[in-house]
Amino acid sequence: MEVFVQQLINGLTLGSIYGLIAIGYTMVFGIIGMVNFAHGDVFMVSAFIALIFFLLLTTWLGVSSVAIALLIVLVLAMAMTALWGWTLERLAYRPLRGSFRLAPMISAIGVSIFLSNFVQVAQGARNKAVPPIISDVIVLFERDGYAVALSYKQIIIMAVTTVLLTAFWFVVRKTSLGRAQRACEQDRKMAALLGIDVDRTISLTFVLGAALAAVAGTMYFLYYGVVGFSDGFVPGVKAFTAAVLGGIGSLPGAVLGGLIIGLVETLWSAYFSIEYKDVAAFSILAIVLVFMPSGILGRPEVEKV
């Protein structure tokens, strides 16, 4: 029971990071039907940006309050990663629009390789670690010598995720920007007939996706305190899995999928074997897709017209 509760907490923390990344996959797929294979590396880049700014603020500029430092880091990482997202779309994907379907995906694989190698060259191949940033925990309850703990880090990660997802949800649902975004997703040609600049809206989608990946990257950096140039791959693949599991194209699906993948992974690690946690996560995907081909909250391909 204690182990279960503990793993539940760990799983939700990990899951919210996957969910944040998954939104970027699902939004881009929804609007241009492309799997952005570079998205995991954008996440990794954002974690590096967070690391660099954190060190800059705390060791060189002498910001003593960790909370303030983290807040500034989060905002800067979101802004800079958003700029990365915008630039990549302009350079690597937009020129290929109207080309054959696979062209932008191949370009995305190229971008992914470019980003991880760029970071490897610029930052070195070794993992970068910082001393634990926040190590306080709250002991929820204790039984038979096993303490169920909720760390401050986990609280921060879940709280930040919840707040930013709510803000993001508001943007997509209630603002005219979000409405234009959904319109382009549902019928690009009609959106253009109504005066919506489709290219600009697609840019905006990449910017939003990258900004959320940056939240995930900052949280990842905060949680593990270690980042490496190859850290984009596995979380990227898992987040993509989460997006497919939740139903690609569905925003709540992406978050739900992320939480499920996070929970499966941590519970499997606790009860069975940590070596096979990835196998478990991907097996769940395979099983769900057999019975629900369009994912949990996805809509079937065919729609009544």
Binding site: R179, A180, R182, K189, A192, G195
Partner: protein, 249 residues
């Protein structure tokens, strides 16, 4: 001199299509089309399935783009303008297949229609279109995809009206609708033209009603204009009667 020029510009058509050729890949769909739509007119284009009527409607919006020829709107060459910029010149279209956003509510679909004028008079316009089509008022918070065909058609027209367009393009507004609804929609078009002076360019297969409504009309056969004249002239033309009105009423 200046009075003459003013008169000249007043006589220039609002929309002028000259020698427009459109291709799908290597297949020619429009073979050099000339059409004028004057301000304040209802102009109808009739033709059989596959004649290129809808292609022309979309070519006006640059999607697909005309490979040859020019399209002039209010004295401005719009042939190469991006689609969304053409829309922002205050031309609206209720396109072929209605193209309702299926996962947006009726209200949101109407909001999309008002996007180009920043919702300046959204409430008044919403009131206006829901008086025109009371069914939409009942369905305001229902998703577009759940509406019936007729309701979707009403929504497509209402959405086009939300931007208060100067020129309204309607692609087969009567398609698949019950006769009573067709009559209602044609009444709305007539009223918009009479009361608000809205210029309307209408594509129809329902030739009888469309020709009765129109000030002027054109007939298109396989990508080219073969006949033109006033609505009445074409109604009485034996060729038109044989090809488009045979038992059609």
């Amino acid at each position: 001199m200046s009075a003459v020029m003013q008169q000249e510009s007043a006589r220039a058509p609002l929309l002028s299509i000259r020698g427009v050729k459109t291709y799908y890949g290597n297949i020619i769909a429009l073979k050099g089309v000339d059409i004028d739509v004057n301000e304040g007119e209802i102009v109808t284009l009739i033709g059989a399935n596959g004649a290129g009527k809808s292609t022309l409607m979309m070519t006006i919006f640059g999607s697909p783009r005309a490979r040859e020829g020019t399209i002039t709107y209010a004295g401005r060459d719009i042939t190469r303008l991006p689609t969304h910029e053409i829309a922002r010149l205050n031309i609206a279209q209720s396109p072929e297949g209605r193209r309702i956003f299926p996962r947006m509510t009726v209200y949101e679909n109407l909001q999309m229609g008002a996007a180009i004028n920043q919702f300046a008079h959204f409430d008044a316009d919403l009131e206006r279109v829901t008086v025109m089509f009371p069914r939409l008022k009942e369905r305001l918070h229902q998703r577009g995809g759940t509406l019936s065909g007729g309701e979707q058609q009403m929504l497509a027209i209402a959405r086009a009206l939300m931007s208060r367009p100067k020129l309204l393009l309607l692609d087969e507004p009567s398609l698949g609708l019950a006769p009573l609804v067709v009559k209602q929609i044609f009444d709305v078009i007539r009223e918009l033209n009479r009361k608000d002076g809205m210029t309307v360019f209408l594509v129809e297969q329902n030739a009888y009603h469309a020709l009765k409504l129109a000030h002027r009309a054109y007939v298109m056969v396989t990508g080219a204009i073969t006949l033109s004249g006033s609505g009445r002239e074409l109604l009485e033309n034996p060729q038109v009667q044989a090809a488009y009105l045979e038992g059609g009423r």
